[in-house]
Symmetry: C2
Subunit: 371 residues, 2 copies
Amino acid sequence: MKFNYSIGTKVIFGNDCIRQNGKALSVYGKKTLIVTGSKSARESGALDDVCDTLISQGIAFEIYDRVENNPSLDNVAEGGMKARECKADFIIGIGGGSPLDASKAVAVLAANDMEPLELYGNKFKYDPLPIIAIPTTAGTGSEVTPYSILTRSDMQTKMSFGNDATFPRIAFMDAKYTESMPWEVTVNTAVDALSHAVEGYLSRKSTPIGDILAVEAIKSFGECISSLIDNRIGREIREKLLYAAMLGGMVISHTGTTIVHGMGYNLTYFMGIPHGKANGFLLKEYFNFNYDIAMVKIDRIFQLLKIRNADEFGSLMDVLLPDRPKLGREEIAKFSFITMQQRSTLSNIREVNKSDIEEILEKAFMFSPVK
Amino acid sequence: MKFNYSIGTKVIFGNDCIRQNGKALSVYGKKTLIVTGSKSARESGALDDVCDTLISQGIAFEIYDRVENNPSLDNVAEGGMKARECKADFIIGIGGGSPLDASKAVAVLAANDMEPLELYGNKFKYDPLPIIAIPTTAGTGSEVTPYSILTRSDMQTKMSFGNDATFPRIAFMDAKYTESMPWEVTVNTAVDALSHAVEGYLSRKSTPIGDILAVEAIKSFGECISSLIDNRIGREIREKLLYAAMLGGMVISHTGTTIVHGMGYNLTYFMGIPHGKANGFLLKEYFNFNYDIAMVKIDRIFQLLKIRNADEFGSLMDVLLPDRPKLGREEIAKFSFITMQQRSTLSNIREVNKSDIEEILEKAFMFSPVK
């Protein structure tokens, strides 16, 4: 038995957790920059809760609400500049994966005079500003991971950086903030969480303790399937999905992701397909590809989801994720090439080469019916 | 759903983990004090591994090897003085629960000019020195908890302090260090780990994520039972026990313990019965006492241990833990009074009063056969 375990984040999970735990923020300083997108922090009510809490704690704040979907290096550079200008002592990220990931980059860039591309060196002269993460989606798990996934236009994909210092210090997790998500976003992000748990569980880097967190995440997702299908998503289901997303984040904090994410980034970068949906389109063929090597674990996943096999899983995804695109041979060749550049591809339980990736993409996108 | 989750410790688990990860120590400074008892650090080989690693990393060290079994406040005060004198930047605790718990107190007292009794205020002006924990037993879980349990002679019991700052920064967990334990110590400490998992699982403060860690710990202990009984304890079983102990520690980091520990401390303080053994003597009646309130969870525990009921659990403990003492009415009254002073008593899933504690102690120690 050989493994590492470390989650550098303190999770505070539950209804009204921010307002009830404002004191926890006061140790991080007197001035904060809130990093968020243009909408979800406001619509979800999280921004109001945070601002009221900061005022009650006597903490001054400014808001940087220009985080893009799938943020670019320029985008986080602007945020870092803003944090330096306003002399923030710490950063509060509010939103889905994009704002949370951006907040980590902003925290590093605020403390270090460096080019954004240097983030990928994963060595920072000065510790990043402390990061507080408040998710408004239930998928990314970014609130409990050290990872920041940014768009690398130089490499035509998304790519992650992060080390022990980029774990958020605190994750405030309140499921009511996820209620403003429309059905599509709820489903897409839930499938992203499932993908984290599944990929971590089947990773070459899987760990005993990661596995039990993954099993719990998959089980929790399984308990939400019928509610997702029927769009009957009450608070209890919202909490279960947020819990599953958190667990998925803890899993990949130890294992990273594998080829599903590596392939999926292409669909997001080139075709604008939402991240979780892109992963979901790929999972069935991922199970098929790895089945002979990881039969016991994959069967356990099916059992936890109360389905019998990869085909049934595929049918489930077809219901949850409409509008599967079709890809041509050229795109498949390009996407496969790019996927092979991702470090995470090396962690796949079955060794993969470019033609394996091509075959998975063909099965997923060439011969499948368009809905 | 409402819970907090935080494990402030990075776990590095596996054969030769110290020698392979010496670099991880270098960030903590140039001088360390090793805090340990007189024997286990040397006999287990851990001290050699640590000293060689420190030398290779250019870190100077001194050794304080006077930690007593069930350390007193005077004992940790002496260690704190030693750490200040030698200007240690960080503390390395090596051993079972006593040295690891002492190292936390030493780390606080080295950084703060305070009376040891003030440790129980749980507020420290200056952060404790960073703590590195290296267990040589598989039971306490102290390597992943913030708790330091010291003997309070003023209150005639053992009592814990600890906050987020007393989590060890790193736990190096190498099962070979536990091989020098004789059978009795192996069993007693393993039962302590089981007790942590069980008490946390059944605690009023139990959490969803704590529960899955507890279930894994109980399952792992269950897989070791026949090896423990037969004293065929190879490396694989040693690893499983160390893993279970770690999980148990993570569980009680969130939940604390309950009445088993509260009652057990009396047997240790007044009768010198080893800590884990004391808990083991009490678990059967603890199950009986709580059964009506926590039937589902207790049945799950029995199932994980592959036994049918509390009586079978009692028989198992009789095999593993010989020499159950007898107690008189006066002792039982005294122990019950003291148990009711422990904060952890409030966390028991079923509300308890002094006469409940008396009844449990009577059933456990008055009418049971002396072996």
